[in-house]
């Protein structure tokens, strides 16, 4: 699970300072970014940006898929398992799986967070056959587990996007 990931796909166009990694690379990228990006790179970056968006969307729809497309197998597996396990626990604890069109801001925000799990949102709905029960602490914690799963998956999708753009990995 903790094997070293490949930072970038071999065939991806690499803009800026993507060959560097970690804090050093980010710091150097921040300082030299303006200088290294030439106007002519717009045409080179366009396919890369579209691919990065596709990677992020894939990562959102199926947790871990974005990193899998980037051949970051360890991260892909970890994201899939952690998001999946959080959804399983949240549904098992009878947490609230929010539906679209909530009446108040909390319900709408809750739905946004739950929808962050992508396809796992429907898995949570399917798993929770007896409905939610937030009258006990279990259900309350379950609601948080489900929301956390969604937010974590959105974070992972953003990470996959950044990796696809060659910014950090």
């Amino acid at each position: 699970m903790f094997e070293e990931d490949h930072g970038h796909p071999a065939a991806a166009p690499v803009p800026e300072v993507s060959s560097q990694d970690g804090a050093q690379g980010e710091a150097a990228g921040g300082a030299t970014e303006a200088a290294t990006i030439a106007p002519t790179q717009e045409t080179v970056d366009a396919p890369s940006a579209a691919r990065a968006v596709a990677v992020a969307l894939a990562g959102w729809l199926l947790p871990g898929l974005g990193h899998a497309l980037m051949k970051m197998w360890g991260r892909a597996l970890t994201i899939f398992l952690t998001v999946g396990f959080l959804v399983y626990l949240g549904a098992g604890m009878r947490g609230n799986v929010f539906e679209p069109g909530g009446e108040d801001a909390f319900a709408r925000l809750g739905y946004l967070a739950d929808a962050g799990t992508g396809a796992f949102y429907f898995a949570a709905r399917a798993l929770e056959v007896s409905g939610s029960d937030v009258s006990h602490a279990d259900g309350d914690y379950g609601t948080r587990f489900l929301a956390t799963a969604g937010v974590l998956n959105l974070l992972a999708a953003l990470h996959a996007y950044e990796a696809a753009r060659g910014r950090k990995a």
Binding site: F2, R75, T78, E128
Partner: protein, 61 residues
């Protein structure tokens, strides 16, 4: 599915373990750094969670 029941502390442990694992894997590249960061994150989750629990304890009465 069978309903799952956990105590408050068990829920905290599960949450901290899962999120720390994800943080470590996403936040660091080298395996040893991932383990260290996940362990540190896990410890901080527990420490802060328990500290907040004790801070709120007077209001539970």
């Amino acid at each position: 599915m069978v309903p799952l029941h956990f105590s408050h502390f068990q829920s905290l442990l599960l949450f901290a373990l899962i999120i720390s694992l994800a943080f470590g894997t996403l936040g660091r590249r080298k395996p040893i750094e991932r383990v260290k960061y996940a362990a540190w994150s896990f410890a901080m989750f527990l420490l802060v969670g328990i500290a907040l629990g004790w801070l709120m304890y007077p209001f539970s009465k």
